[in-house]
C-alpha cells in the first residue's frame, strides 16, 4: 500500500466532483465513534390520533391485559420454596380455574396411577441403579422412539389430554420396559444392589 503518498496530495481514483466536493475543499471530519443512541431530531413526531374509537380501544387494551392475567391460560412461574412460609401468603392466593383441554378423561388410568405410587418410586430407584451401571447414552435413543409414539398417542387428540397421573404412570411404565438383560422382578425390595462389601464373595448375588 505504498500509493503515491510521497508525492504531494493523494489523487483520487474517481472524479471528486461527482460526489459533491469541489477540488481543494476541506473534507468533513472522520467519524471516530458510533452515532449517539438518542440523537436530537429536527422534526418532532406528530401527535397521536384521538377520538372516541381510539379511546375505546385504549381502554379495551388495558382491560384485556388485566383479564388475560386472570385467565387459566396464564401459567404462573412456580416460585421457589421459601424457608419460612409467610403468614400473609395464605390470604393473598389468587383463585384461578384449572383449565384442562376438553376431551375424554380415562378414569381407569387415573385410579391405577394413584394406586401404585410405591412401585413407581421403587422402579425409579432400580432404574437409577441400572443407569449407573450402564451409562446414559445407549438408553435414551431407543427410548425416545418408543416413548414418542406412546406419549403422543396418549396425549394428543382433538384437544385431548389425559390426566397428569395417567401420563406419569405411562411414562414410568415405558421407562421400565427396557431391552436389557435385567429382569425387573429379580430384585426384591430392600436389597442393596452393589452396596454389600465385596470382600468375601463366596456366592454370587442374584
Amino acid at each position: 500500500m505504498a500509493g503515491n503518498k510521497g508525492r504531494g496530495r493523494a489523487a483520487y481514483t474517481f472524479n471528486i466532483e461527482a460526489v459533491g466536493f469541489s477540488k481543494g475543499e476541506k473534507l468533513p471530519d472522520v467519524v471516530l465513534k458510533p452515532p449517539p443512541l438518542f440523537p436530537d431530531t429536527d422534526y418532532k413526531p406528530v401527535p397521536l390520533k384521538t377520538g372516541e374509537g381510539e379511546e375505546y380501544m385504549l381502554a379495551l387494551k388495558q382491560e384485556l391485559r388485566e383479564t388475560m392475567k386472570r385467565m387459566p391460560y396464564f401459567i404462573e412461574t412456580p416460585e421457589e420454596r421459601q424457608d419460612i412460609e409467610r403468614y400473609s401468603k395464605r390470604y393473598m392466593k389468587v383463585y384461578k380455574e384449572e383449565w384442562i383441554p376438553a376431551g375424554p378423561k380415562p378414569k381407569k388410568a387415573k385410579d391405577a396411577g394413584k394406586g401404585t405410587p410405591l412401585t413407581n418410586t421403587e422402579d425409579v430407584l432400580k432404574k437409577m441403579e441400572e443407569l449407573e451401571k450402564r451409562g446414559d447414552g445407549e438408553k435414551s435413543d431407543e427410548e425416545n422412539e418408543e416413548k414418542e409414539g406412546s406419549k403422543e398417542k396418549s396425549k394428543e387428540g382433538d384437544d385431548d389430554d389425559d390426566d397428569d397421573a395417567a401420563e406419569q404412570e405411562e411414562y414410568d411404565e415405558e421407562e421400565q420396559e427396557e431391552e436389557n438383560d435385567y429382569i425387573n422382578s429379580y430384585f426384591e425390595d430392600g436389597d442393596d444392589f452393589g452396596a454389600d462389601s465385596d470382600d468375601n464373595m463366596d456366592e454370587a448375588t442374584y
Binding site: 406528530v46 374509537g53 385467565m71 391460560y73 401459567i75 425416545n144 414418542e148 394428543e156
Partner: protein, 534 residues
C-alpha cells in the same frame, strides 16, 4: 423470522401467557418445528410444563402440529399469528361498531379463549351482559344466539378444523396425533341448537370472597354437568375476514380524503357488493355495472344516475387507479383494483414517513424519484428545484436510511467510478419491508418502556390499589366523609402527581402501540399481496 419479530413475539407471549409459555413459544419460533422431547430438553423445562404450554398455545391457534414418519409429532409455531395479538382491541372494537355490545363480547370471548363451542360462548356472553344490566333484568340466550348466527353468516367467526369421523374404523392403532380437517362448506355452518336460558348474575357474595375457603368456589363453576349438545364443534374468530374489512375501510377513507364523501360512499357500496363474490386475495373485485351500483346505493343517498356516472368516470380517471373501468355494458362495468389500492396506500405511508422524519423538501425529492423511477443526482437538483448541496445531502440521508437505493450503470467494462452512471431509485417493496421491520422494533421498544415504567412505580401502584380497595369496602359498609378523607390522604400529593404522570405515560405508550399496529397492517397487506402476485 427476524430478530425484531422474535423479540416482539416474546414480549407478547410473556404479557399474555406468562414466562413458561413464552419460553416454549420463542424456542419453537426460533428453531422451527420440533418434537416434544427436544423442546423439553433444549429449554430445560419439565415435560409436564412443556405439555401445558403447548396445550395453551394450541388452544389459541399459535402452534400447530404435524405427524411425521415413524410416528414422530412435530410442533410448529405460527409467528405471524402471535403478532396478531396486538390487534385484538381493533378486532373487538370493529365488531362493536358492526354488531353492538353482544357481538363485541362474543368476539372478545373467542379471542381470549382461542376456541369455544357455541353453547359455551352464548352462556358466557349472556352472563356478562346480565351483569351490566339493571337489577332484575337478564339477557336471553336467544338474542345472543342470533347475533352469533349473524356473525357466522358474515364469516366473522368460523369453525375450527376437527377430528374427522370415520365410519369404518380400521382396527389398527390410532395415529399419534389426529389430522384435523374442515370442509369448506361446513366452515360457517351453525349447528341447530335450541339454547334456552337466561344469563345468570354472579352472586354478590362471591365477589368479596377473598378469604373464603376454596371449597365454596368450585361448586359455583361446575354448575351444570349436563352433556353439551354441540360438543366437538369449536369456533374461532376469522381474522382474515377482519383484515378484509380493515382493508375496505382503509380504501374508503383514502377515497374520502382524496375526493369527497359521495365518492367514498360509492366505493363503499361497490366493496360491500363484492364482499361475498370476491376472495380476499383477489387483485380486483368482480366487475359491477353502473346500474347495479345505482340500485345498491344506501337508501339515504339520492343522487341521480347521471351524477353517479360522472363520479364513476372521475374515479376511473384518477391517477391513483383505485377504480378501473373494465367494460361498457350495463352502463359501464367498474372494478376496484385492490392490489393497486394497497400499493398506493403503502406508498403514501412511505411518503408520510419520509416527510415526518426528514422534512418536506426530502419528501419532494422522494416523490420525484418515485415518479421518475430512475434518476441521476444532477437531474434531481434540476427537477426538484433545490440547491445542489442540500439535494445531495438529502439524497444521501435517505440512501443511508435505506429508503432509496442506487443503481449502477457502467459505461465501460472496468466499472470505473468516474465513468459510471449512478441512478437513484425507490424499490417500494424493499422500502416497505424495511419500514415494517422498524415498526416491529418500535412496538417492542414501546412495550418494554411501558413495562419498565410500570415496574418502577410498582410500589406506588400497589399502594394506590390498596387504598382504593379500602375506600370501596368502607363505602360499602357506610362510612363517614371524614374517615374517607383520612384514608384518601394516605396518598400524598406528590405521590398523586407521580401516579398521574405514570397513567398519562402508560396511556400514551398504549395508544402508540395501537397506532403503529395500523401501519403494520397496511404494510403487511401490501407485502402479502405483492408476494402473491409474483
Amino acid at each position: 423470522m427476524t430478530q425484531a419479530e422474535i423479540k416482539l413475539c416474546s414480549l407478547l407471549l410473556q404479557e399474555h401467557f406468562g414466562e413458561i409459555v413464552e419460553k416454549i413459544g420463542v424456542r419453537l419460533i426460533r428453531t422451527g418445528s420440533q418434537p416434544l422431547r427436544v423442546i423439553a430438553h433444549d429449554t430445560g423445562t419439565s415435560l409436564d410444563q412443556v405439555k401445558k404450554a403447548l396445550c395453551v398455545l394450541a388452544q389459541h391457534n399459535l402452534v400447530s402440529y404435524q405427524v411425521h414418519k415413524r410416528g414422530v409429532v412435530e410442533y410448529e409455531a405460527q409467528c405471524s399469528r402471535v403478532l396478531r395479538m396486538l390487534r385484538y382491541p381493533r378486532y373487538i372494537y370493529t365488531t362493536k361498531t358492526l354488531y353492538s355490545d353482544t357481538g363485541e363480547l362474543i368476539v372478545e370471548e373467542l379471542l381470549l379463549n382461542g376456541k369455544l363451542t357455541m353453547s359455551a360462548v352464548v352462556k358466557k356472553v349472556a352472563d356478562r351482559l346480565t351483569e351490566t344490566m339493571e337489577d332484575g333484568k337478564t339477557m336471553d340466550y336467544a338474542e345472543v344466539s342470533n347475533t352469533f348466527v349473524r356473525l357466522a353468516d358474515t364469516h366473522f367467526v368460523q369453525r375450527c378444523p376437527s377430528v374427522p369421523t370415520t365410519e369404518n374404523s380400521d382396527p389398527g392403532p390410532p395415529p399419534p396425533a389426529p389430522t384435523l380437517v374442515i370442509n369448506e362448506k361446513d366452515m360457517y355452518l351453525v349447528p341447530k341448537l335450541s339454547l334456552i336460558g337466561k344469563g345468570k348474575r354472579r352472586r354478590s357474595s362471591d365477589e368479596d370472597a377473598a378469604g373464603e375457603p376454596k371449597a365454596k368456589r368450585p361448586k359455583y363453576t361446575t354448575d351444570n354437568k349436563e352433556p353439551i349438545p354441540d360438543d366437538g364443534i369449536y369456533w374461532q374468530a376469522n381474522l382474515d375476514r377482519f383484515h378484509q374489512h380493515f382493508r375496505d375501510q382503509a380504501i374508503v377513507s383514502a377515497v374520502a380524503n382524496r375526493m369527497d364523501q359521495t365518492s367514498s360512499e360509492i366505493v363503499r357500496t361497490m366493496l360491500r357488493m363484492s364482499e361475498i363474490t370476491t376472495s380476499s386475495s383477489a387483485p380486483f373485485t368482480q366487475p359491477l355495472s353502473s346500474n347495479e351500483i345505482f340500485r345498491s346505493l344506501p337508501v339515504g343517498y339520492n343522487i341521480s344516475k347521471q351524477v353517479l356516472d360522472q363520479y364513476l368516470t372521475l374515479l376511473a380517471d384518477d391517477p391513483l387507479e383505485f377504480v378501473g373501468k373494465s367494460g361498457d355494458s350495463g352502463g359501464g362495468m367498474y372494478v376496484i383494483n385492490l392490489h393497486k389500492a394497497l400499493a398506493s396506500l403503502a406508498t403514501a405511508t412511505l411518503e408520510s414517513v419520509v416527510q415526518e422524519r426528514f422534512g418536506s423538501r426530502c419528501a419532494r425529492i422522494f416523490r420525484l424519484v418515485l415518479e421518475k423511477k430512475h434518476i441521476e443526482q444532477k437531474q434531481v437538483e434540476d427537477f426538484a428545484m433545490i440547491p445542489a448541496k442540500e439535494a445531495k445531502d438529502m439524497l444521501y440521508k435517505m440512501l443511508s436510511e435505506n429508503f432509496m437505493s442506487l443503481q449502477e450503470i457502467p459505461k465501460t467494462p472496468d466499472h470505473a467510478p468516474s465513468r459510471t452512471f449512478y441512478l437513484y431509485t425507490v424499490n417500494i417493496l424493499s422500502a416497505a419491508r424495511m419500514l415494517l421491520h422498524r415498526c416491529y422494533k418500535s412496538i417492542a421498544n414501546l412495550i418494554e418502556r411501558r413495562q419498565f415504567e410500570t415496574k418502577e412505580n410498582k410500589r406506588l401502584l400497589e399502594k394506590s390499589q390498596r387504598v382504593e380497595a379500602i375506600i370501596a369496602s368502607m363505602q360499602a359498609t357506610g362510612a363517614e366523609e371524614a374517615q374517607l378523607q383520612e384514608i384518601e390522604e394516605m396518598i400524598t400529593a406528590p405521590e398523586r402527581q407521580q401516579l398521574e404522570t405514570l397513567k398519562r405515560n402508560v396511556n400514551k405508550l398504549d395508544a402508540s402501540e395501537i397506532q403503529v399496529d395500523e401501519t403494520i397492517f397496511l404494510l403487511e397487506s401490501y407485502i402479502e399481496c405483492t408476494m402473491k402476485r409474483q
